[in-house]
């Protein structure tokens, strides 16, 4: 194989993504966001490192903070990007060509690792790099310390990726390839939201403690000695700390340890690739990975609305990775207001109300926005079939509501019995949730039509990257609007007619939903299918 030619073609593939008509707008937004994030991490950490001295801390604590940031970046890379590397290695469209080419499995694995480099290296480049840069700048690292930086960053990228790939390939021996991607996707969802929840529980408690926040934060990231011996991010941070302390042998020692583990990790991936990749690729190519499952249809076909609802129900229940993702997300959205409890104590009735509103808003994204790209290439039927756009979208909204309502009911019942609030307050909370759900589903449909990616592979990435950012912004705006409106309504409770908090929120939700659905059907009618 001529490596220079292969590398050139991969570079061209990357460059072509920036050409007009190939997502240039999205690419520029991506670059803009990356630059913003890089600068944010760099300046925030530079300020943090510079303020350690006045607080009575030294470079050791600074290195602990740096290691914690690097560790977070590595965990995020594992959660978000390992699945991408595995998918790229086993399911990319050019694999058939590469598989037929006279190259070894190890070379193929290397090419696919290069392909997935922009994605898998993103967290290292966007977080670990500016964090190290901030540390080196503030701590005035000598020139030879700077020279270690590329080694450390490459090590931080390679160490988890190689081990992760090897483990993924091992798992693939037992699980069909198409299902492994789903397993990894769900796992990444659960880990990501779990970490987020853990963080959400921990941070408010740190904030409400009686003592000063900054010392507590620094103390909280000081690692146990056993952890330092097994954590590559701490080795990288210790290398930079040793460089700052002008101990070249110690610095090179830490860097060498990281480098060795990275090499060993990649060797493990190569070894697994040599033994398992050929077999896996053959299985994927032959379609053997998907077992036959029979679903005899007995019921007579019905009208279009019921058929569309039945279709969505079948697709959801047969796709446990997406269903599991929705259920997990629903649980965590519901719990979100609880974590705010220590920051803003509130009566139980208000807590239940905000839990249901948070769940309703979250479901607009989790269900409403995803129900459009979830169609995949079959979304073309919205253009082909003689079904008006409003009926199709009406069915989508209704389907989203039918999936969401049981989750709302469960959340409402659990919170009612767990927090023992009065029936009237509970009914008002449900009313608020229903109002928010109605609108959030409609807004979700708009998001799905506008930013949906029918070629998604990751259940948590059915929207394009800019779409996910905008959808996140819309979630926050909705939350602020509903919480604000409900607080005002509560404050003015005496001035409203009796029962206004029971019928008001659903009425407001419906009043917002109708124009939103009109916009949705306009967007749907203007939609052009392009495969």
């Amino acid at each position: 194989m001529i490596w220079s030619g292969v590398l050139r073609s991969r570079r061209q593939l990357l460059r072509n993504q920036l050409r007009p008509g190939r997502g240039r707008w999205a690419s520029f937004i991506g670059f803009g966001l990356f630059a913003w994030f890089f600068t944010l991490v760099l300046t925030t950490l530079a300020i943090t490192f510079a303020s350690l001295d006045p607080l009575g801390f030294g470079p050791t604590e600074g290195a602990a903070v740096l290691a914690a940031v690097m560790l977070a970046a590595l965990v995020a890379a594992l959660v978000f990007d390992l699945q991408h590397a595995v998918s790229s290695t086993l399911l990319d469209s050019d694999l058939e060509l590469l598989h037929r080419a006279p190259i070894t499995a190890r070379e193929l694995l290397t090419i696919k690792l290069i392909d997935s480099l922009p994605r898998t290296a993103a967290m290292v480049v966007a977080v670990a790099f500016p964090a190290s840069l901030a540390f080196a700048l503030v701590m005035k690292t000598p020139w030879w310390g700077w020279a270690l930086l590329p080694v450390l960053l490459v090590g931080l990228w390679a160490a988890p990726l190689g081990i992760g790939l090897a483990i993924a390939l091992l798992i693939l021996r037992a699980v069909p390839a198409s299902r492994v991607r789903e397993v990894l996707a769900v796992l990444s969802t659960v880990i990501m939201l779990g970490l987020w929840l853990l963080n959400s529980f921990a941070m408010p408690r740190l904030l409400t403690d009686e003592t000063d926040l900054a010392p507590r934060l620094v103390q909280s990231v000081m690692p146990a000695s056993w952890f330092v011996t097994i954590s590559p991010p701490h080795w990288a941070a210790n290398a930079l700390l040793a460089a700052h302390e002008r101990h070249p042998i110690a610095a090179v020692g830490w860097a060498l340890r990281l480098g060795l583990i990275a090499v060993a990790s990649m060797a493990l991936a190569a070894f697994a690739g040599r033994g398992l990749l050929e077999d896996m690729l053959a299985r994927v190519a032959s379609g053997e990975a998907t077992a036959k499952r029979r679903h005899p249809a007995t019921a007579v076909p019905m009208g279009s609305l019921r058929s569309l609802l039945m279709k969505d129900a079948r697709l959801f229940t047969r796709d446990w990775s997406v269903l599991g993702d929705v259920l997990t997300a629903a649980l965590l959205w519901t719990l979100l207001p609880i974590v705010a409890g220590p920051i803003a104590p509130m009566p139980a009735a208000h807590l239940v109300r905000y839990m249901l509103v948070a769940l309703a808003i979250g479901l607009g994204y989790e269900v409403g926005a995803r129900t459009i790209p979830y169609e995949g290439p079959a979304l073309a039927w919205t253009r082909l079939s003689p079904l008006p756009a409003w009926r199709w979208n009406g069915a989508k909204w209704l389907g989203g509501a039918l999936l969401s309502l049981p989750l709302m009911v469960i959340a409402a019942l659990v919170s009612r019995f767990a927090l023992s609030i009065a029936w009237l307050e509970w009914s008002e909370a449900i009313a608020a949730g229903l109002g928010a759900l109605s609108f959030s589903l409609a807004l979700g449909l708009w998001t799905g039509w506008t930013f949906g990616d029918p070629h998604w592979t990751q259940p948590r990435a059915m929207l394009t990257f800019p779409g996910r950012l905008i959808a996140s912004g819309l979630l926050i705006v909705q939350a602020i609007a509903w919480v604000g409106a409900l607080s005002v309504a509560e404050h003015l409770r005496e001035t409203w007619p009796s029962g206004a908090l029971l019928w008001g929120p659903p009425a407001v939700g419906l009043a917002l939903t109708i124009p939103m659905m009109w916009i949705v059907q306009r967007v749907a009618r203007a939609y052009e299918w392009s495969a």
Partner: protein, 246 residues
Amino acid sequence: MSAAPAPLEIRGLTRRYGELVAVDHLDLEVRGGEILGFLGPNGAGKTTTLRCTSGLLRSHSGTIRVAGFDLEREALRARAAMGFVPDRPFLYPRLTAREFLDLVGSLYDVPGPRARERGDALLSRLDLGAERDDLIETYSLGMRQKVAVAAALLHDPPLLLLDEPLGGLDPQSARALKDLLRERASAGHGVLVSTHLLDVAERLCDRVAIVSHGRLRALGTLDELRRESGGSTLEDVFLERVKDAG
């Protein structure tokens, strides 16, 4: 009594992608009872034409009438009057073929029992009866193509559009499909089939249209085209017309 409108009438169809004119003022008519072969080199605008005609893409100018219904102004009636078999089928992998056809039947207002009966018959005809209750995700490319064909024919439309329909089909299934298309034409319906297989076009189609660079370069029966160009086979005619255009 006025004559039935042609299954498909395209007048002045233009479609651009940025600065590239994919289809350039194309006029085309598919008559009732005929199979019109739609030929052209790669990138000639065949798929774009079919996608505009099916409603997947919008045209930048021109009109498309399906069984007399304007695709822009009477979109739903025009869509109801056609079936489309794309080059890559639009299917739900986690439905069975039967469930998928039930859904398509309901979208096209085919009564339930009729949709079921017709869907089963089409699947059997295309040699997919035994697998009809398996999830589509377990199907090969050819089997998926058969499901797409069955879906396009389920509501018995006056116009059938097919984009490279024989790709992935085994010889037996290809024969079954060709017989189906011939039956459609015999029943007075129109068929527009895009293909690269000139020998298939030569044997299957009543007329052929050759496009290149988005423009119509030739249209007529095989005899007419041979007479005009002096070639002995469709391949000769095709190569000459495409060369002239290039």
